[in-house]
């Protein structure tokens, strides 16, 4: 049982490592205003008992990495009521990348779904 749980965790982790960037770009593309990491993490929280997509702390290095690739940009707001917040917003190049990645994702999803449904001519 422990082995199955570990294997599930590993599978989830491998899936996440590729999809996290796409999810974060998409969240920020749909946001009306720049968002800080904690708010993004809260948005991604799942209510049920299923395995969460990723640990909240693992979002931050992805955000930093997207920023260093210039797909996101950020600024720090020294909040008076709490710790300073780093706000992220998507760049023009981020929006273009998101379009391409969404297309790749749709193709991959259709392919995997086809296989899972037993179709061989996908």
């Amino acid at each position: 049982m422990a082995y199955t749980a570990d294997a599930n965790k590993k599978f989830q982790k491998e899936l996440n490592s590729g999809s996290a960037s796409l999810v974060l770009l998409s969240i920020l593309a749909h946001a009306d205003e720049p968002m800080y990491g904690y708010r993004i993490a809260k948005l991604m929280e799942v209510d049920d008992e299923s395995v969460p997509m990723m640990k909240q702390g693992a979002l931050y290095p992805v955000l930093r990495s997207l920023e260093s690739s210039r797909l996101l940009e950020s600024y720090v707001d020294p909040s008076v009521s709490g710790p300073p917040r780093r706000y992220y917003k998507i760049t023009k190049s981020g929006l273009e990348t998101l379009k391409t990645w969404t297309k790749i994702w749709s193709q991959t999803k259709a392919f995997v779904d086809g296989i899972l449904e037993g179709k061989t001519d996908v």
Binding site: Y38, E45, Q56, A58, S65, S68, P78, S81, G82, P83
Partner: protein
């Protein structure tokens, strides 16, 4: 399992040992910001919870120090080598680092903090000492108790303001939490919270000590800065404007052959002054964090 945010951060730092210092800084500031925001939210929803009770599930959601460190390491390994080199400050030569301090925002921040501490030291220290003595004297009357309460409240306000200054100029994270976690406290309970919290007394001591420290910092750094500039400009000052540097006594001019050396000494003294400012800023920032932030 970690019982508080500081313990978590210490473990995360340990797990990230050997990584680029900038990456460690990013990871620590991301974690601290997130965990403190989550903690504030949980404690304002459920004030009856103790901090360790509240923090455990938050850390569980955030990820263990080991997991998070490996997430940052994975990102670092994907960073292009060209970018990684530009982040490594240690690659610079000794002289580049020595003179480069003049271009470092952190050194300038610390320099201005030290200059500003003349004002903050006099205001904060003066208030802590004078108002403290006055409110203690009024304790013999019944009106003294609310006055002491107000005085202690003002000290916590000063601590908050100084925290913001330290954070802005010294770049040390000074997370702050609401003064009273429970909004429904009576006046008496608020007074007791102020009296019982060691942070109030540490803030009072900090404010009082800012008086001598502020004088030492500001006068010391101003003297060194002025000395550096006058050394650098000594040939101009003495030969063109006929203003003696008085290195060899009152009204005494420096021998002409010595002036180039004095000027060169000034060029070295200026970065040294900024290195000193940066060091003092670092040490003072740690001291301020230990005195003004709720553990």
């Amino acid at each position: 399992m970690c019982k508080d945010v500081n313990e978590y951060l210490a473990k995360l730092k340990k797990e990230l040992a050997g990584c680029d210092p900038a990456l460690i800084q990013d990871a620590l500031s991301d974690a601290e910001g997130h965990l403190r925001m989550a903690l504030d939210e949980v404690l304002s929803d459920k004030p009856s919870l103790s901090e360790p009770e509240a923090v455990v599930p938050i850390i569980e959601k955030y990820g263990s120090p080991k997991e998070i460190a490996s997430a940052y390491r994975a990102i670092e390994s994907r960073t292009s080598p060209a970018l990684a080199v530009s982040r490594t400050k240690e690659m610079r030569s000794f002289w580049a680092r020595f003179f480069g301090v003049l271009a470092e925002p952190k050194a300038w921040g610390a320099f201005f903090y030290m200059l500003l501490s003349l004002v903050t030291g006099i205001v904060f220290g003066g208030w802590a000492i004078l108002a403290g003595i006055i409110s203690l004297c009024t304790l013999v009357f019944i009106i003294g108790i609310p006055l002491v309460g107000l005085f202690l409240l003002s000290i916590r306000g000063i601590a908050l303001l100084e925290g913001r200054i330290v954070e802005a100029l010294l770049g040390i994270r000074m997370p702050n939490r609401p003064l009273f976690l429970d909004a429904n406290l009576s006046w008496k309970e608020m007074f007791m919270v102020l009296i019982k919290e060691s942070l109030t007394w540490k803030s009072l001591l900090y404010a009082a000590l800012q008086f001598p420290l502020g004088l030492i910092y500001s006068l010391g750094i101003f003297l060194l800065f002025a000395l550096s500039l006058s050394f650098i400009g000594s040939p101009l000052l003495e030969l063109v404007f006929h203003l003696p540097l008085e290195l060899f006594g009152p009204e005494a001019f420096t021998p002409v052959w010595l002036l180039p050396f004095v000027s060169i000494a000034g060029f070295f003294l200026l970065p040294l002054t900024f290195h000193l400012a940066r060091w003092v800023g670092k040490v003072h920032g740690k001291y301020a964090k230990s005195m003004l932030v709720r553990a």
